[in-house]
């Protein structure tokens, strides 16, 4: 009962903050709404006994990625709201389309079926601790997908390095005649 109430609370807050994220005029406020959203998603993970995921959700998404978003927002420094032309001129048409989509989503709900029970029921996870269970699964059963994901990330990192380095070399060529730092000769 308490679990369900907490789930309801988390779910409602997630929906609410997601809407607010879109509605807020100020991008920093939007980012904060996303922060609250991530927080409640972590709450959902906690309700599912996935405490490792909950912590990682906060550390990685809230603590790192969102902070980087804020960084970008501050550096871009949007003083005025960017005005974009509407794709569809009519308000009614867009409302109709979104209502239809909503009905479709709701209509799908009854067909949602729980998957088959896996190797890790709640009791086993509690006994093994979630962190360990996840580590075992990732590094044995799902090793290949994990490595592929790692490789893709590595490519992204190398790409980022290459892009950054090009800029830096140009800058260094411009500054090539500046004296080297470290030691300084003083004539007396």
């Amino acid at each position: 009962m308490v679990n369900q109430l907490l789930f309801l609370y988390c779910a409602l807050v997630i929906i609410g903050t997601a809407l607010l994220t879109v509605r807020f005029k100020n991008p920093v406020h939007s980012v904060l709404a996303v922060l609250v959203l991530f927080f409640h998603m972590a709450g959902l993970y906690l309700l599912l006994n996935a405490e490792f995921l909950a912590a990682i959700q906060i550390i990685v998404y809230a603590g790192a990625i969102l902070v980087l978003y804020l960084f970008v927002l501050f550096l871009v420094n949007l003083r005025q709201e960017v005005k974009v032309e509407r794709f569809v001129a009519s308000h009614r048409l867009s409302a109709l389309v979104s209502i239809c989509l909503g009905i479709c989503l709701l209509a799908i709900l009854p067909f949602f079926k729980l998957g088959a029970k896996g190797n890790y029921p709640v009791g086993r996870i509690e006994q093994l601790t979630h962190t360990k269970a996840m580590g075992l699964e990732i590094y044995s059963t799902f090793l290949l997908p994990f490595e592929i994901a790692g490789l893709i990330l590595l490519i992204a990192v190398i790409g980022g390095l290459v892009l950054a380095r090009n800029d830096k070399e140009v800058a260094e060529n411009e500054l090539s005649d500046s004296p080297s730092a470290g030691t300084c000769e003083v004539q007396e």
Partner: protein
């Protein structure tokens, strides 16, 4: 809220052990424990500021506070009363809700981290399995308070302070986390009580010696994470007036102050738990099991203050170079060596 929540989650797992009639009593006891812990910690915060002023004063051949009470012993209380009754100034151009929320975010996240610290065997509010990660999560959230304070004040000094803090916290969270991975690998757990238990009771079986590289990295990253000298760039008085807290006054300023000192204490506790063997000491103290834990935390706090009295501030590019080019490779090397050691031993 998170404290109660996480402890509730933990409680719900041990639901079978509790009698339904005793349940409300149980929650009452937890609330009382939280209140007691908060009171003790806030009192500590007050007197850490006092001892910081005293120790730095004597290190600089001065006296420090002397007038309020015997040798200034009542100074922190006077300061507290003063900041409580001071005018709360909100700049006209500030983003008001965020300006008001920022110090609360800072303080609450820091206080929440206290919930998972084991002060002695069984002396822990929420003995959760991911204690270490929880601390990281909370300390990364605390940076939001600083960033938002910097942004919402709508002043260039606070904004620069907030930006610096943001870059610093992101950079130093990585070596901080990586330096503790070695501890996690050796103890095989993220639960702080189990990490202490895995270290054994003697000084020489603590992780200080096998994880000396990890401890070195952790210590420096800890200084940076708590914005202490020599990494206090976000609040550098000489260049940014007071960084992100320039526009704050009265109680809100005091809240940032408290958050900083609680952060110091939390980090000192993590260092004690992960590297110095937590509550274990050369001999057991009857009636007061957390004695050694508290003594070690005091040692860490003294070190914080001692370093503040000694070292000048780093330059910003040096700070970044140290974090990314020295500490992260060292922490990775430490993980590699620990893994190699474990493979060879087993």
């Amino acid at each position: 809220m998170m404290t109660i929540w996480s402890s509730w989650i933990w409680e719900s797992k041990n639901h079978e052990h509790c009698l339904p009639a005793g349940e409300s009593m149980h929650y009452l006891i937890i609330v009382l424990q939280i209140a007691l812990l908060l009171a003790i910690v806030l009192l500590h915060v007050a007197y850490v500021t006092y001892f910081e002023r005293k120790i730095i004063g004597h290190m600089q051949v001065r006296l420090g506070p002397m007038l309020v009470g015997w040798h200034g012993l009542l100074q922190p209380i006077a300061d507290g009363i003063k900041s409580f009754f001071k005018e709360d100034i909100i700049p006209e151009q500030a983003d008001k809700p965020l300006f008001l929320a920022a110090p609360i975010i800072c303080l609450v996240t820091m206080l929440t981290s206290l919930a998972v610290l084991p002060f002695a065997r069984g002396w822990v509010l929420a003995d959760i399995n991911i204690g270490l990660l929880f601390i990281f999560a909370m300390s990364s959230l605390a940076s939001y308070g600083i960033i938002l304070a910097g942004w919402a004040s709508n002043s260039k000094y606070t904004f620069l302070g907030g930006m610096r803090s943001m870059a610093q916290v992101i950079s130093y969270e990585i070596p901080l986390g990586l330096s503790l991975v070695g501890v996690m690998m050796l103890s095989g757990s993220l639960n702080l009580s189990e990490i202490v238990a895995a270290q054994g009771t003697s000084l020489f079986s603590t992780y200080l010696f096998p994880q000396c590289i990890g401890f070195f990295v952790f210590f420096i990253a800890m200084l940076a994470e708590t914005n202490r000298v020599p990494f206090d760039l976000p609040e550098a008085e000489t260049e940014l007036v007071s960084g992100y807290i320039t526009e704050y006054s009265g109680m809100r300023y005091a809240m940032f102050f408290m958050a900083e000192y609680i952060g110091m204490m939390v980090m000192a506790s993590i260092g004690t738990v992960c590297f110095l063997g937590g509550w274990n000491g050369p001999f057991a103290i009857p009636f007061f099991p957390p004695f050694w834990f508290i003594l070690k935390v005091y040692g860490f706090l003294f070190l914080f203050i001692w370093i503040r009295a000694t070292l000048p501030r780093y330059r910003y590019d040096q700070l970044m170079a140290l974090g990314w080019k020295v500490l992260i490779p060292l922490a990775l090397l430490n993980i590699f060596l620990t893994g190699l050691f474990k493979v060879l031993v087993s």
